[in-house]
Amino acid sequence: MFSFQPDRSEYPQPGLDGKLEIDLETGKYLKLWHGPNHPGITGNMSVELTVCGDEVVEGKTHVGYLHRGFEKLMERRTFIQVFPIVCRVCVPEPDFNEYCYAAAVEELAGIEVPELATWMRTLILEMGRFNSYMMFLGGIGGALGLGITGQWMTYVRDLMLDRFEELTGARIYHMFILPGGVRGHLPEGFAARMEEVLQTAETYLADVDKVMFANSVFQLRTKGIGVIEPALFEPYGVTGPNARAGGVAKDVRKDSPYLVYDQLDFEVATGMDSDIFTRAKVRRADIQTSIDLIRQILKKMPKDGPVMAKLPNVLHWKIPRGETYIKGECSRGEYGYYLVTDGSGYPRRINVRGPSYTHAMALLEHLIPGTNISDVAALMVSLHTYPPEIER
């Protein structure tokens, strides 16, 4: 019915090797900086676009605007002192850092975490995943000019932040998962208040289905655009919903169950088309999974018990030489911590493996050529990348 194919007759033609010879001096190309200060960018990063007409012929991701040198700072801190800074690595979903770090330290130090603490950790992680997806839905709507989803989702996310606040004592940086366990028990009446939030969320999500997923404009602008061929998944290290949207049910929660995921009942949402629409749809389904999981956890978790293992005196806590890798399924894919210790009181090296690292760099740069300028924002958002976990 409509055709959005641009008239390319005037455009420069690729050479014999299929590559464009980009020469800015010819006047046919233009550099366009998409970010760092740009409403359509996911956080403080930028994509350097080379455009010809309104078609993008090359994109280079630039990161480092949020680089604080975490991996270096962690080497200066004792094992307990690392705990407050890990959550800062990823702002919208900080809890994965806390979990992965804590689990890595516990494994190398040989600490057994009480059962209730593992349930609490799972709860926190699912709440965080819910929040992260809320930001995603708001973002993908915003990237396509659908402001209302952003308004709703931010509101719902804020209700969840209230639950975070009463449970952990903070809105954004919860600092709740301490190596050895968690910092506290569920407050009185938490489950009931959580149920209220989940129900409100469900009504808003039902409306998002109508206003966004069933929307003809949204469908036209997302279906068939930004397709990641499943063959690219392994070479480009694609994980999480981005892979699931292409029919590969990659999910660490199922593939390599951690915490109490093996005691929970859930299905991994997948899609087939691997385009922007399917990626959004998979995440939408994942939110429902998260909501169900939160309900299950609150129902199944032990009612009482210790939440902290006994730690050695943290002021001079030494961990024997060793290395380990702990991973978990965050809202964007496989999140992992690689921890190397050398027997001293400080970590030798910590490497954070954020899914955005592969998604926003090599993969995005691979996908961008050939898209329309106006689709770049949607494409970027659909990969769901958070720059702080790329540069740390």
Binding site: M1, R77, T78, I80, Q81, V82, F83, P84, I85, I148, Y155, D162, E165, E166, T168, G169, A170, Y173, M175, R183, G184, H185, P187, D207, K210, V211, M212, A214, N215, S216, Q219, L220, P306, V307, M308, K310, L311, P312, N313, V314, L315, H316
Partner: protein, 599 residues
């Protein structure tokens, strides 16, 4: 694209009927009950240990003096000042706080145009000082250990019929566990009279570096093996860990270090003394004070001769403290190290008899008097004169010397509640057990159980060994039968020990009278010095202060060549004597250097 897909989105217009979700007054919105907001500090509970500063990964906390908070034992007088240009509200400082004084309110708004304004001392006058809500750590979550590694001990049955040492000492694992609990605040250091670098040697235990530990010990205390066993360990009362658990077993860790370094290695680690200076000093009394001074002076290259009246060196450490608390070979090792520094100890040489003060003065650059308190005090109650009543120090000395004439009756009564009272009570109990197969010993003290002057362990162990400990009993009369034989002690219940002005004036409830059976009454209520060795002329010349030789803060007497140290002038225990010994040695060195010591 169907018409349906065009129209469905409009169905959400129903939301216009929803009530607005905006928070009407966001400015007075309370944060949650456990919100990690701005800090609070209970100034009275805070001890200024600086553990919050140590754990803060942002370097946000400074320890600063605060008006109205005085430095005293167990409280540094410093308080945390927090820089909100650094803080990240992780609350690790709250979690680690040794007293639980540092907490957080749920207050969260602080806006200012002056960047230097964001520093404050919580607990002074912040607006949220009295707010109740806010982050507090959950019970039981303390980031340093709270329970002490138990010390292995001989069971009461195993120890009561002999004088074997009771404490077996920590194993390496126990010692590391215990050392791990130390937070290295250093509050103990100033409490220790000798300022031993306690956190450092505890760190050495943690690192299993006993050589370094031993060197640290010898920097401040040549009687580490002795102190590791019988120190009164006042340091442990000011330990930061004591507020939410057991104090660190500082004394046992010290002992653990020494136990792990053989004697020859110790001498090797300390190293040779400085080259001889040609100066010489005489020291009277081979107790902890005298020998410490001797050690220090010998290290500085001074030729030291120690004169000791008794047959063996050690003073009260040997002749006052029973063997089950301090085995003689432990003491001998400490003394051997001191002798290895070139100190000459002349035992069984009584000053005033075998050698005169005046001779010492002539032949040495200076003389240090460290004679201790060798004479027991009496109660002077009716019947306390004559046979059947003994002084604790005399008895202890005779037991150590192996005197066969020590009286061991089937029942005995001890008057006193200090460590010496327990020493004699438990020694006598052992002798009774050996001789009669059972213990028949009663200990009466003025104080109630909570305020005994003796260490808590003494009470526990005394109980275990079958000593009948009676608290709040004031001695009134030693009962004798018509033949003059002691039959027991009559006591009244004590209602108060001190009067309104805080003077010693015990008051009794005369209606509560008891008679404790015993063929021997032992008085253990204090000691005094025997200064007869000085000779009349010198006694006349010296200045005195309430029966003790008067000294200044640097251990000088009124005579420029004579210095004094130890229990005889200050008291009251080994570690204080050691501290005195150091000070005396330092003063003597300065005096010698400045040529003040004019003959």
């Amino acid at each position: 694209m169907s018409l349906r897909e065009v129209l469905t989105p409009f169905s959400v217009w129903k939301r216009v009927l929803d009530a607005p979700v905006s928070i009407a007054d966001p400015f007075s919105r309370e944060a949650s009950e456990h919100y990690r907001g701005f800090h609070k500090n209970d100034m009275e509970t805070c001890i200024g240990c600086g553990t919050c500063e140590a754990i803060c990964q942002n370097g946000a906390i400074d320890m600063v003096p605060v008006e109205g908070q005085n430095t005293e034992k167990g409280d540094s007088g410093l308080r945390p000042m927090i820089d909100y240009g650094r803080c990240c509200w992780c609350a690790l400082c709250v979690d680690i706080c040794m007293t639980g004084s540092l907490t957080m309110s749920n207050e969260y708004t602080w806006v200012d145009s002056d960047p230097d304004a964001f520093r404050f001392i919580p607990g002074l006058n912040e607006p949220w000082k009295d707010k109740q809500a806010g982050y507090k750590r959950e019970n039981g979550r303390v980031l340093s250990g709270t329970t002490r590694s138990p010390m292995g001990e001989l069971h009461a049955n195993e120890r009561i019929d002999n004088f074997n040492e009771i404490c077996v000492g920590y194993t390496r694992e126990e010692a590391i566990l215990e050392a791990d609990r130390c937070v290295e605040c250093g509050l103990c250091v100033a409490t220790c009279p000798a300022h031993m670098s306690i956190p450092d040697y505890i760190a050495a235990v943690r690192d299993q570096d006993y050589d370094r530990g031993l060197q640290l010990l010898y920097e401040t205390n040549p009687f580490s093996e002795v102190c590791g066993r019988i120190c009164t360990h006042k340091c442990e009362t000011s330990c930061a860990a004591v507020h939410e658990g057991d104090a660190i077993a500082i004394r046992w860790l010290k002992r653990h270090i020494v136990d792990n370094v053989p004697l020859e290695r110790r001498v090797e680690l300390i190293g040779a003394p400085k080259p001889a200076t040609g100066k010489s000093v005489a020291i009277i009394g081979a107790g902890p004070g005298g020998l410490t001074a001797a050690y220090d002076l010998a290290r500085e290259g001074v030729k030291v001769t120690v004169y000791e009246a008794l047959p063996k060196p050690g003073g009260m450490m040997r002749y006052g403290i029973p063997e089950y608390r301090l085995p003689y070979d432990a003491l001998d090792r400490d003394i051997a190290v001191i002798e290895a520094m070139g100190v000459t100890i002349k035992c069984a040489t009584v000053v005033g008899v075998d050698v005169q003060m005046e001779d010492l003065r002539q032949s040495h650059d200076a003389v240090i008097l460290a004679i201790g308190l060798q004479m027991g005090r009496g109660t002077r109650i009716p019947g306390s004169e004559g046979a059947g009543v003994e002084r604790a120090v005399d008895l202890l000395r005779r037991i150590t010397a192996g005197d066969p004439t020590v009286p061991v009756p089937e029942t005995a009564v001890v008057i006193g509640g200090g460590n010496v009272a327990f020493d004699i009570a438990r020694s006598m109990a052992r002798l009774q057990k050996i001789k009669y197969g059972r213990v028949g010993l009663t200990l009466t003290a003025l104080e109630d159980r909570a305020h005994f002057l003796a260490d808590k362990e003494e009470l526990v162990e005394g109980d275990e060994e079958g000593v009948l400990i009676l608290d709040s009993r004031g001695p009134q009369e030693v009962m004798r039968d018509p033949s003059g034989q002691v039959t027991g002690l009559r006591t009244w219940a004590v209602t108060s020990i001190f009067d309104a002005e805080g003077r010693f004036a015990p008051a009794y409830d005369e209606s509560d009278e008891q008679i404790h059976q015993g063929a021997l009454v032992i008085e253990a209520i204090g000691q005094m010095a025997d200064t007869s060795l000085l000779g009349d002329a010198l006694t006349e010349k010296l200045e005195w202060n309430r029966g003790r030789i008067k000294i200044d803060s640097e251990m000088r007497t009124s005579e420029p060549w004579l210095f004094a140290a130890g229990d005889a002038v200050k008291g009251p225990d080994v570690i204080n004597a050691v501290a005195d010994g150091h000070r005396a040695a330092r003063t003597v060195m300065e005096a010698i250097a400045q040529g003040e010591v004019v003959q």
